[in-house]
Subunit: 177 residues, 2 copies
Amino acid sequence: MMKELALAKVYQLLEPGPVVLLTTSRKGRANVMTMSWHMMVEFEPPLVACVVSNADYSFATLRATRECVIAIPALNLAQKVVDVGNCSGRDVAKFETCGLTPVPAERVAAPLIAECFANLECKVADTRLVNKYNLFVLEVLKAWTDPRQKNPKTIHHHGYGKFVVDGDIIKLKSGMR
Amino acid sequence: MMKELALAKVYQLLEPGPVVLLTTSRKGRANVMTMSWHMMVEFEPPLVACVVSNADYSFATLRATRECVIAIPALNLAQKVVDVGNCSGRDVAKFETCGLTPVPAERVAAPLIAECFANLECKVADTRLVNKYNLFVLEVLKAWTDPRQKNPKTIHHHGYGKFVVDGDIIKLKSGMR
């Protein structure tokens, strides 16, 4: 169903800054949150920094298990992305409530999300900035894309439920990776 | 010419993940680089994390002066963004070569860029992850927008000169800031 993506290409998915979903799992109970504060840190092995607020239910699980999945939703999941962001794993089983399908990952206990066009299995690589900024550095161990979703358009959050959708593509001659 | 932007709104500019320009200045000599690896870390005061490679000429200046400006270009500057990314301040005076106009900032020695629709004056707030990851945490001290640029479309880098331009805007009911 999902196809492995070369780790060297992971940055091309996250560098544009899409809204993503972050899954975690503890004691067999999976959770998912919406996240926009992330960036690439290294090409390969791919390192990703992200901020998971200590007010988020996922925070303690991420810190304790040191594993997560970053799943990238396309435009068709926008309403579910907002739904996920507006409830807490403290109160509800979010995968069921929000209509998302967990799929076992290969390297981590956190699940992939079947509906997302890309899924990145991650382990926590550095926690030095967690106490002060809730900033985790992750290493991507395995990456998957869904070949059935062609040219997915991602969404970018501008605050308070306003999202900008991917539009035109331009190609300029560049030596930059 | 430029209008001050409330610091509480800065995240709305960077959270969507646009390509930005980063300016620095040392001994009266300004430089500018293209950057896509950045993310918000805190709403207010606004903290921003970014990766500036130690292969970039700007790295040493940023580390030494602890000051920079993050300038956000709209689509009309796409070619200049690529031009900036494809030469080095080691070899050329990039503002002149690339046709960008430096404007004195208020709180830092690094210049604003007149052509950009937003400019964020920043100081380095944390360097603990610089040695290992080239990751700087910045604090935004002052933010400016150009009121003449209405609804600017930003560009998002997917690698090798491929950029996705902002498209449609959607608004969904959300409790998320």
